[in-house]
Subunit: 202 residues, 2 copies
Amino acid sequence: MEAVAVRGRPREFNVDAALAAALRVFWTRGYEGASLTDLTEAMGITRPSLYAAFGNKEALFRQALDLYEREKQAFVRPALEQPTAKGVAERLLQGAIDNYLDPDGCDPRGCLGVITSTACGTEAECIRDEVLERGRKVNELFTQRMAKAVADGDFNGPVDPETITNYLMTVLKGMAVQAGAGATRDEVQRVADATLAMWPGR
Amino acid sequence: MEAVAVRGRPREFNVDAALAAALRVFWTRGYEGASLTDLTEAMGITRPSLYAAFGNKEALFRQALDLYEREKQAFVRPALEQPTAKGVAERLLQGAIDNYLDPDGCDPRGCLGVITSTACGTEAECIRDEVLERGRKVNELFTQRMAKAVADGDFNGPVDPETITNYLMTVLKGMAVQAGAGATRDEVQRVADATLAMWPGR
DNA sequence: CTGCTTCCATATCGACCGGTACATAATATC
DNA sequence: GATATTATGTACCGGTCGATATGGAAGCAG
């Protein structure tokens, strides 16, 4: 697919590897906390190379965000396909734990989306809005899935699809904060287990 | 208590009011996101006055954090004195909603602690550690309270005091993220209600 | 009044921010 | 070979960051 016209001097670095390195920096420090110096050092390239390859800091962040959703949050969509609401929740919680507390210890802790959407200076407002918008779309997907679960009789009592979705998202985001604040994987795992143990249905 | 030696020119601004204004800025923008220009404009004083009265940005933040805990999170300690674990949780969740989504609409949304502890640049690391340490102390208090609740037979099944505390803190922090991300008070209230409805005991 | 102390306002400091101009190096096409 | 095109490295732009030096204004005690 990349039958690029290779006129001119060829690039000396791997764009995908550089983007992955940039993602790690954003994931660790947030959008505003990640300086161009941090980024270029981690990516192993110079400033002009970064601007030539990615546009600017904001465009680089958006591409890193795409990569994050594509590779690190791939668990979200399959979770929707579980047969019961509790199954959906279980897959989501487990995927989040792997995302927030990488068992290999390679990835940063916490959630890029939560880190970015948590308020910082005015500069990043448009970035923040983009992240919030993406979150809203995920929320919609799960609300629809929970509505189906209500119809399927997955819940013991009366349950509002929006509320149970918001509850689930709240626990997820709380886990992200805890993970970022230094909680161990076992601690977060027990929180997820407890959440499932209290789950009001199947 | 303030029998200050009033030699020299008297101060032209109210220190408490200025600190309250600074708190609102930190609460809205986070530690790093709040620039000295933001702060001095909101406080209505000049930079040298700020440094003379509060030391530096970090010292100002610590004093704002003290004010925050003293006035905005006063609900935490009384919650511990509720007779049952569910009562403790209820008071904590309700107090958090009032804290994160001020009914009068005067205070900023979300939680200063969560905003600050969520990663940003390297400059704020020592501030972050301080906030995390304060959070750890609160966590200990609630773990002890939940251990008593276990002994009191407040829970239906076997429950680990640490885990139920971590679960509660996770929901609280998730609510703070949701509130900061634009959730309405009703939405967050329903999440809290749902949490209590699933609570495994009295 | 004269000292003395403290506060306020202006005008900066050096460091770092995101972003670029410019010259040079490396490849393809002709 | 010559030339066009692209990438790289250096050095720098204006702007903002947190923090201050400095000089004058405003109050006290004597």
